[in-house]
């Protein structure tokens, strides 16, 4: 017998476009222009940030794919 609680799906909780809209809105409200701001980042920083995001992406996938704890009991 297997009992499942909760939704196992890996779908994005909020559509991508909505998140983009919200993030763009935050930038606009704070007078940040992504096209200008991206020049503030050096190539070295860009590379580090890229690696950081890719690393986190892997961790999120791993988490979603059920990297879980199993406990056994006989009591």
């Amino acid at each position: 017998m297997t009992y499942m609680a909760g939704d196992q799906s890996n779908h994005n909780p909020i559509p991508e476009k909505v998140v983009k809209l919200m993030v763009d809105d935050v930038f606009r409200k704070n007078n940040v222009k992504p096209e200008e701001v991206k020049n503030n980042i050096s190539n070295e920083q860009r590379q580090m940030l890229k690696e950081m995001v890719e690393d986190l992406k892997k961790q999120v996938e791993q988490f979603n794919n059920g990297d879980k704890n199993t406990n056994k009991t006989s009591e």
């Binding site: 909760g6 939704d7 196992q8 940040v32 940030l49 056994k72 009991t73």
Partner: protein
């Protein structure tokens, strides 16, 4: 007093030699509180008078540290790209955006049972992690980092 025709089945009645190494479960989890965003998430799994119960739950420690990792990454990206006083306002706005998740409580009770497999997912923290990463990916994409 009425006649007791049947006695209650009790798992422990049959557990004479059952003290083995598998008995390492800490199945009643304390009320956990996720560090960020007033998010409260309680998970209770109560197992009573039962035997051979397999429990699979979300690894909360991994979940919370992953959540913190993504939050730190968002802060780092904003601070590096924008810097100065503007980055504070942006961080605040972003926090507001991701800080409105509701708490989730689930209770699972198993009583007088044997050979049961339980899998629970803390949907709340899973959704939160997914959303946080989505926000990070979007910020990074609009800054042309990826």
């Amino acid at each position: 007093m009425s006649h007791m025709t049947e006695t209650k089945w009790r798992a422990l009645d049959y557990c004479k030699n059952n003290i083995n190494d598998q008995n390492n479960a800490d199945t009643t989890q304390d009320a956990d509180q996720a560090v960020s965003n007033q998010q409260i998430s309680d998970e209770w799994i109560i197992i009573k008078d039962s035997e051979n119960i397999d429990v699979t739950t979300t690894d909360r420690q991994a979940a919370v540290s992953l959540q913190l990792g993504i939050e730190a990454a968002i802060a780092a990206v904003i601070s590096i790209a924008i810097g100065g006083s503007a980055s504070q306002g942006i961080s605040q706005d972003i926090n507001q955006m991701i800080g409105t998740r509701q708490g989730n409580r689930q209770k699972t009770i198993v009583e007088q049972s044997s050979d049961i497999q339980i899998t629970t997912t803390d949907t709340d923290i899973a959704v939160n992690i997914q959303l946080l990463f989505q926000v990070l990916a979007t910020i990074v994409a609009s800054l042309d980092i990826l």
